[in-house]
C-alpha cells in the first residue's frame, strides 16, 4: 500500500481514532508480532494471550493469505473473510466454525517433521536469560513448591520442533525474568551458545523474540543471551532493566519499537479487536 502514513492530516480510514501514536502496549505487541509473521507460515495459537490472538488475525488479514491458523485443533485459512473477531473469552469453541480440517483427530503430533514453518507463542511463570521457560512452578523443592504453575501444556514438544517461537508475556517483572528458572519446561537456548540446541538434538529454531508490555528482546547471535532489541515508546532502558532479574545486554542507543501504522490500527480495531480487548 505504502500511502498510509497516518499523521495529523485526514487519512483514508476516515477517522482520527486510529492515530498511530494512540495505542496500547498490547496493541503494539500485537502489531510487532504480526509484522514478524511470514506468509505461508502455520500459526499455532494457545490460550490466554490476547496480543497473540490479535497478531495472527492481523497478519493473516494484512499480508498472510497463505497462513494457516490452528486454534483448538481446528486448522483454517480465513483470509477471505472481512473480519476475524477476537473471541469473547479466549477459548470460545465457536472458532471451529472456521475449520477446513482438524488436527486433533487422534494424531496431533504425528507430523512434527513438517513444523519447520510452524510458529508458536509461549508464556512462562519464569524466563531465564537464554529463553528457557518455566510453567511448572516456583520453589527449590519440587515436592513443596511455593507457587504451583499451570503445567507445561504442549510447550516441551512445540518448542522442540517448530521453526521458531516467541515468548510473549503479559507483564514484565523481576519475578518472571530470573537468572535461573527453578524448572525448565521448554528448552530455549539452554546454557547459551549458537549450537545450544544442536548440542542436545533439538531440531527446531528456538525462541526468536521475547515480547513484553515494555520492550522487545532478542538473543545475541553468538551467546544466545537476551539482548534489548527495542523499547516501546516512552519506556527507558533503565526501566526495563529495573524490571528484569538479570543483566540485559544492550547496544546503546536502543531503538524504539516501530509504532503501529494507521492502517494497522485501522484493521486491528475494525476487523480484529472490535470490542477493544487490547485496550482494557
Amino acid at each position: 500500500m505504502g500511502k498510509c502514513r497516518g499523521g495529523s492530516e485526514p487519512h483514508p480510514y476516515g477517522t482520527t481514532l486510529f492515530m498511530p501514536n494512540d495505542y496500547s502496549p498490547q496493541e503494539l505487541m500485537a502489531v510487532f508480532l504480526a509484522r514478524d509473521l511470514q506468509d505461508g507460515e502455520v500459526l499455532r495459537v494457545g490460550v490466554a494471550m490476547p496480543p497473540v490472538e490479535a497478531a495472527v488475525r492481523l497478519a493473516h488479514l494484512m499480508h498472510g493469505p497463505n497462513m494457516e491458523l490452528i486454534f483448538l485443533g481446528a486448522r483454517m485459512n480465513v483470509a477471505h473473510l472481512h473480519s476475524l473477531p477476537m473471541p469473547a473469552f479466549g477459548w470460545d469453541r465457536r472458532v471451529v466454525r472456521w475449520a477446513e480440517s482438524y488436527s486433533d483427530t487422534g494424531h496431533r503430533f504425528d507430523r512434527v517433521k513438517d513444523w519447520n514453518n510452524h510458529v508458536f507463542f509461549i508464556g512462562g511463570v519464569q524466563v531465564d536469560p537464554y529463553g528457557n521457560t518455566n510453567l511448572i512452578g516456583v520453589g527449590a523443592d519440587y515436592h513443596h513448591l511455593r507457587f504451583r504453575g499451570p503445567g507445561s501444556v504442549g510447550t516441551a514438544t512445540l518448542s522442540t520442533h517448530v521453526g521458531r517461537y516467541y515468548i510473549v508475556l503479559n507483564s514484565h517483572t523481576p519475578r518472571i525474568f530470573v537468572e535461573r528458572c527453578d524448572y525448565i519446561s521448554a528448552y530455549g537456548w539452554g546454557t547459551g551458545g549458537a549450537d545450544a540446541r544442536r548440542r542436545v538434538g533439538l531440531p527446531g529454531g528456538g525462541p526468536k523474540y521475547c515480547v513484553t508490555p515494555l520492550c522487545v528482546i532478542d538473543f545475541a547471535e553468538e551467546t544466545k543471551r537476551m539482548r534489548l532489541h527495542s523499547l516501546h515508546a516512552g519506556v527507558a532502558a533503565a526501566d526495563v532493566q529495573a524490571q528484569t532479574g538479570f543483566t540485559l545486554t544492550t547496544s546503546a542507543p536502543v531503538p524504539t519499537t516501530d509504532p503501529p501504522s494507521a492502517e494497522e490500527l485501522h484493521v486491528l480495531r475494525t476487523r480484529v479487536d472490535r470490542t477493544g480487548f487490547l485496550r482494557r
Binding site: 490460550v47 490466554a48 485443533g73 481446528a74 473469552f89 479466549g90 477459548w91 470460545d92 469453541r93 465457536r94 471451529v96 466454525r97 475449520a99 482438524y102 486433533d104 483427530t105 487422534g106 496431533r108 503430533f109 512434527v112 511463570v125 518455566n134 511448572i136 512452578g137 519440587y142 515436592h143 513443596h144 513448591l145 511455593r146 507457587f147 504451583r148 504453575g149 499451570p150 503445567g151 507445561s152 501444556v153 504442549g154 510447550t155 516441551a156 514438544t157 512445540l158 518448542s159 522442540t160 520442533h161 524448572y183 525448565i184 519446561s185 521448554a186 528448552y187 539452554g190 542436545v200 538434538g201 533439538l202 531440531p203
Partner: protein, 302 residues
C-alpha cells in the same frame, strides 16, 4: 459361546450399550486411574463427586480437574495443563492441593502424555519422544527416562505406558451400539484417552439411529465404545460443539468460590457449589433442574 453339533444358540440380538450416568460412574472405584476428556463429561464427573470416590489418579486438565480435586476425589494428577481461566492462571484447588502436598503431580506435557497413552494402546513397554529433552521434566518425573536410541544414539525420553482403567468422554452423538460421532472435531486428546483405556464411557447429547451412523461411517470417531450415556447438556458448565457454549457465569462463580477457599480460607461458597451442583442432585436431570431451562437455552452456540 458354546454350541452343539449342527445347532447354535442363535437368535440373540445385537447388544445395546446404553446405560445411565449412575451405572456408568459405578465403573470407577476408589484408587483407580481415570481419564477425563475435553469437554469434560460433567454428568459423569458430578456422579463421581456425589459418590465420594477417593484416591483417584486423574488424567485431566483445567477446571474439571480442579473440581475433582476440590471434592477430595484425587490422589494424583496426570496433567499437562491446569489453568484456571477468568484471570486466574492456575486452577485454584489444584494449586493449593499441590502446594500443600495433598495431591501428587505426575508431571508431563501434552506430547509426552499422548506418547504414553499411545504406548499403552499399542501394548508397548515404552515409546520414545523428543519433546522434553533438555527440560526438567525427567528430573521431576523419574518415570520419564532419558536414554540413547538403539540405532543412532540420539538422546530421547522413554515414556512408559499410561493406561486409564476408565476413560470418561463427552461427544455429540452415538448409536445404541457404541459408535460415537463428534461434531466440530473430537476433543483434544480424547481419542488417545480412549485407545489407551481398559474401558471407555461416552456421554452424548443425542443417541442417534444406527442408520444415521452408517450414512457417514467416516464421522465415527470412536467405534464400539463400552458404554453410552444419554446426557443432554451433559458437558455443562462447559461447551458442547454444535449444541451450546460454555456457561461463563457458572464457571466464574466456581473459580471465585474455589479461589476464596484456596487463597482466603473462605470455603463456604465452594462448599455450597459442591453441595448444590454436585452432591445433592441424584441424577443429571436433577442437576439440570437446578441450573434451569432458561439458563441452558441461553447458551445456544449462535
Amino acid at each position: 459361546m458354546a454350541h452343539e453339533k449342527g445347532s447354535y444358540v442363535n437368535g440373540t440380538e445385537r447388544r445395546q450399550r446404553i446405560i445411565d450416568e449412575v451405572e456408568a460412574a459405578s465403573w470407577v472405584q476408589d484408587g483407580m486411574t481415570i481419564a477425563v476428556g475435553s469437554p469434560a463429561p460433567m454428568a459423569l464427573v458430578r456422579q463421581l463427586i456425589r459418590r465420594g470416590v477417593k484416591d483417584l489418579t486423574v488424567i485431566d486438565s483445567g477446571l474439571s480437574l480442579d473440581l475433582l480435586v476440590a471434592a477430595g476425589c484425587v490422589r494424583q494428577a496426570v496433567s499437562y495443563y491446569a489453568g484456571g481461566g477468568f484471570g486466574v492462571p492456575v486452577a485454584p484447588s489444584f494449586r493449593r492441593a499441590v502446594e500443600r502436598g495433598e495431591i501428587v503431580v505426575w508431571e508431563c506435557e501434552e506430547g509426552i502424555l499422548t506418547t504414553g497413552l499411545q504406548a499403552a494402546a499399542q501394548s508397548l513397554p515404552f515409546l520414545p519422544w523428543r519433546g522434553g529433552v533438555g527440560t526438567s521434566l525427567p528430573e521431576v518425573n523419574p518415570d520419564l527416562k532419558v536414554f540413547s536410541d538403539p540405532l543412532k544414539g540420539e538422546t530421547l525420553l522413554a515414556v512408559p505406558p499410561i493406561k486409564p482403567d476408565v476413560t470418561l468422554l463427552h461427544a455429540a452423538a452415538a448409536d445404541a451400539y457404541g459408535n460415537v460421532q463428534h461434531l466440530g472435531g473430537p476433543g483434544w486428546i480424547d481419542l488417545f484417552l480412549q485407545r489407551a483405556a481398559d474401558r471407555t464411557v461416552v456421554q452424548v447429547e443425542r443417541v442417534i439411529a444406527n442408520e444415521e451412523v452408517r450414512a457417514n461411517p467416516w464421522a465415527t470417531t470412536i467405534a464400539a465404545v463400552d458404554a453410552v450415556v444419554r446426557a443432554p447438556y451433559g458437558a455443562h458448565p462447559f461447551y458442547s460443539r454444535g449444541f451450546y457454549v460454555q456457561d461463563n457465569d457458572q464457571l466464574r462463580m466456581y473459580v471465585e468460590a474455589a479461589t476464596a477457599a484456596a487463597q482466603e480460607n473462605r470455603p463456604e461458597a465452594l462448599a455450597y457449589y459442591l453441595a448444590h451442583y454436585c452432591r445433592e442432585p441424584v441424577t443429571h436431570g436433577d442437576y439440570l433442574e437446578r441450573v434451569g431451562i432458561k439458563r441452558l437455552l441461553s447458551l445456544y452456540e449462535y
